[in-house]
Amino acid sequence: MKAKIIVMPKKTVLDPQGKTVKNALESMSFKGIKDVRVGKFIEVELTAGSKAALKKKMDRACHDLLSNPVIEEYSFEIS
């Protein structure tokens, strides 16, 4: 089983990396970009366990370690 986690900066947080990537895309003549935000993708391979129990553990791991709730939001799926 794998947990796939996406961690993104909150919309209220300045994302200079995203702005820089947007500028770089536009310098490649890519038009029509409204906004770019840069986050993280984390994959956690899990040994057996009930999906419900793992979901709860993963949520805690995301909240306590994998993201900083002050500046980031996370979402994940287990499959």
């Binding site: 900066p9 209220t12 947080v13 300045l14 200079p16 990396q17 994998l66 900083n68 002050v70 500046i71």
Partner: protein, 232 residues
């Protein structure tokens, strides 16, 4: 006073802090290994600068889970003094001993330079030897020193007089140009509600001797030593 300096894998300003406290200020100083569960008899803990755990995941994110940080939290809860410098500020925020977070510098570049900070209040064991409005020239060296917190947290910090130092121009004015990393409200250092935990991004341990270009950082350590005298 007895000082304890935490050493994480990747800390690199621990020896500078040791030199400042032991050699320049003549205080009883020792290192505290990150795996140590207890720190022993220490009056003030220093969480030093550097790149603990290579800044993996987020700066300070992994260091906060080390056994030594549990001991730091207990020490802080019991009223002991804690000062976090640079990476130390990041670790203390991740450990929730201070509110907010430090994110990437506004201009994305790592900045290694002397800056000016202004003492906003002398109501703390870390600034009580200073004068309100005093300007200190202290070096910074960081890529993630941009202080962020939700608006109501910033309001609380202001209301409770917990912003101890702010980035300023040479004449003490709070300008946007002086705010080299883009921190909200030019915040360079804050303290907790009980005012015994303080952290700042600039390095007072690298500016306690004139030969290093500025010895203004000594005022922070003079304050800590002054507060010990007041307590006993």
């Amino acid at each position: 006073m007895k000082f304890g300096i935490i050493q994480f894998p990747g800390s690199n300003c621990d020896q500078d802090a040791y030199h400042a406290l032991a050699d320049v200020f003549g205080q009883s100083t020792r290192y505290i290994w990150h795996k140590d569960n207890a720190m022993g008899d220490v009056d003030c803990v220093v969480v030093p600068g550097g790149f603990s755990y290579g800044d993996y995941l987020r700066t300070g994110a992994i260091a906060r889970f080390s056994p030594a940080m549990k001991a730091v939290a207990a020490h802080a809860k019991a009223g002991g003094l804690v000062i976090g410098i640079c990476n130390g500020f990041q670790v203390l925020c991740e450990a929730h001993l201070l509110p907010g977070a430090l994110i990437r510098n506004r201009g994305l570049k790592f900045i290694c330079d002397h800056v000016y900070i202004r003492v906003e209040t002398t109501d703390s064991p870390f600034t009580n030897a200073c004068k309100k409005g005093q300007v200190l020239r202290i070096p910074i060296a960081h890529g993630e020193g941009n202080y962020f917190a939700e608006p109501k947290v910033i309001e609380q910090l202001k209301r409770e007089d917990r912003i101890l130092v702010r980035y300023c121009a040479k004449d003490g004015k709070l300008t946007d140009a002086a705010n080299v990393n883009g921190s909200l409200d030019n915040i360079a250092g804050i303290c907790n509600e009980s005012r015994n935990v303080f952290a700042l991004m600039p390095h007072p341990e690298r500016s306690s001797e004139k030969i290093l270009g500025s010895n203004d950082g000594r005022w922070i350590f003079k304050s800590i030593l002054k507060s010990e005298i007041a307590v006993s």
